[in-house]
Amino acid sequence: MIMVQKLHILDETPSQTAGPFVHIGCIPTFAGVDGVFREDLGARAIESGAKGEKITIRGHVFDGTGWEMRDAMLESWQADAHGNYPGQNGADPKVNGFCRFAADAETGEFTLETVKPGSVVGPGAAMQAPHIALWIVARGINTGLQTRIYFSDEDNTDDPVLGRIEQRQRVDTLISKKVGEGEYRFDIRLQGVGETVFLDM
């Protein structure tokens, strides 16, 4: 029998659910565990003086029964108003890009305050419409879910990710709706009717 060289590519460590108590680990001050860290990680997506349009995005994470989950934790990652990610040349130093926020323990609503990102380059020479990457973890979610927030008042027609969605009515699940000046609504449905498009990228 002919053997081959061995490929030394490791398998990724398996994911496990973040569980119901993720808050004490990731946002302990929010969870009432005061004084361990100086400040919760990702407390703000931007610092004062960040360039661009200030926006607030609010929404809920719904489970498959339509229940607004009270225990989800979300993380966002985005470019600055010119489409540069923190760390890239010319990036706005007042844009952290990363934010952590949780569903409200009473209402389930989450709030993200940030600036609207610019268009981002790639893949190749194509441009991606302005978007914010989201990562959602909670009890019952065995591997964190990736999705994106786009904007209803931007031109999304040539975005390469949205363009790959076969069922065109599902594109809307990734587009936040403008509900006021600088205010957007973005609901996430984990399962069932209106299920959000989740990404594997």
């Binding site: 990724e12 973040a18 108590f21 680990g25 400040e39």
Partner: protein
């Protein structure tokens, strides 16, 4: 290899099944439609970088970081240490590792935890560290207790520590759990069993590491972590300056 190179596609067979009826909460929280699979873009290839300036002196010492002056957490003292690598076995340098856990009695310092075991006034249950130039991290903590949870009538979580790990790209984000060698509850746990591959379950079980145990002070367990790797080809176009 470059920090912003594309990510290797995720192999879902090494991860838990999203829908696993024995873990009841997963039934209504798992997508029923396929994920949209695409090559990573700059959005997934970049990610937040955290400097040592965010760390306090006791951030990786859970025995003391919530304790009153002169006090320390109750429980069996353990060092938990390991390396963060990518799929090419490259050390992940300067990445943030966060942990959280129950106290020695199996109780979390969280509003939603109503277990009978008492809170320890000297134990908060969270810590964080940034990996060194070889990808190493280290925590001092107490061994968490096992505890019952509402799933089956009498389901118990094995002793475990939750881990949250950042790579250099947002698409590498990972949360997992570390278990302890020899715990008979591991093989009974519905959350553990969401992982279909036994070899992958084994990778979450940290062995006792007497080479790092501190005499007359603390036992040690080793837990290595592998994040998604990046691919690079000389034949792949990359935008100018990236």
């Amino acid at each position: 290899m470059h920090d912003k190179d594309p990510l290797i596609e995720r192999d879902h067979t090494v991860h838990p099944l999203p829908y696993f009826p024995a873990y009841k909460t997963s039934v209504t929280r798992s997508p029923s439609l396929p994920l949209l699979s695409m090559p990573s873009t700059m959005t997934e290839q970049t990610g937040p970088v955290f400097g040592h300036d965010i760390l306090g002196r006791l951030d990786n010492n859970l025995v003391e970081n919530y304790a009153q002056a002169g006090g320390s957490a109750i429980g069996e003292r353990v060092v938990v240490h390991g390396r963060v690598l990518d799929q090419h076995a490259r050390p992940q340098v300067g990445v943030l590792v966060e942990i959280w856990q129950a106290n020695a009695g199996g109780r979390y310092r969280h509003k939603k935890d109503g277990y009978l075991a008492p809170l320890d006034p000297n134990f908060g249950g969270c810590g964080r560290a940034i990996t060194d130039e070889n990808g190493n991290y280290e925590f001092l903590t107490v061994r968490p207790g096992a505890y019952p949870w509402p799933n089956g009538v009498n389901d118990w979580r094995p002793m475990h520590i939750h881990f949250s790990i950042f790579g250099s790209g947002f698409g590498q984000r990972l949360i997992s759990q570390m278990y302890f060698e020899g715990d008979p509850l591991i093989s009974r746990c519905p959350i553990v069993k969401t992982i279909p591959d036994q070899a992958q379950i084994d990778r979450l079980v940290a062995p006792l590491d007497m080479s790092r145990a501190i005499p007359m002070d603390a036992l040690a367990y080793r837990f290595d972590i592998v994040l998604r790797g990046r691919r690079q080809s000389m034949f792949e176009n990359r935008p100018e300056g990236l």
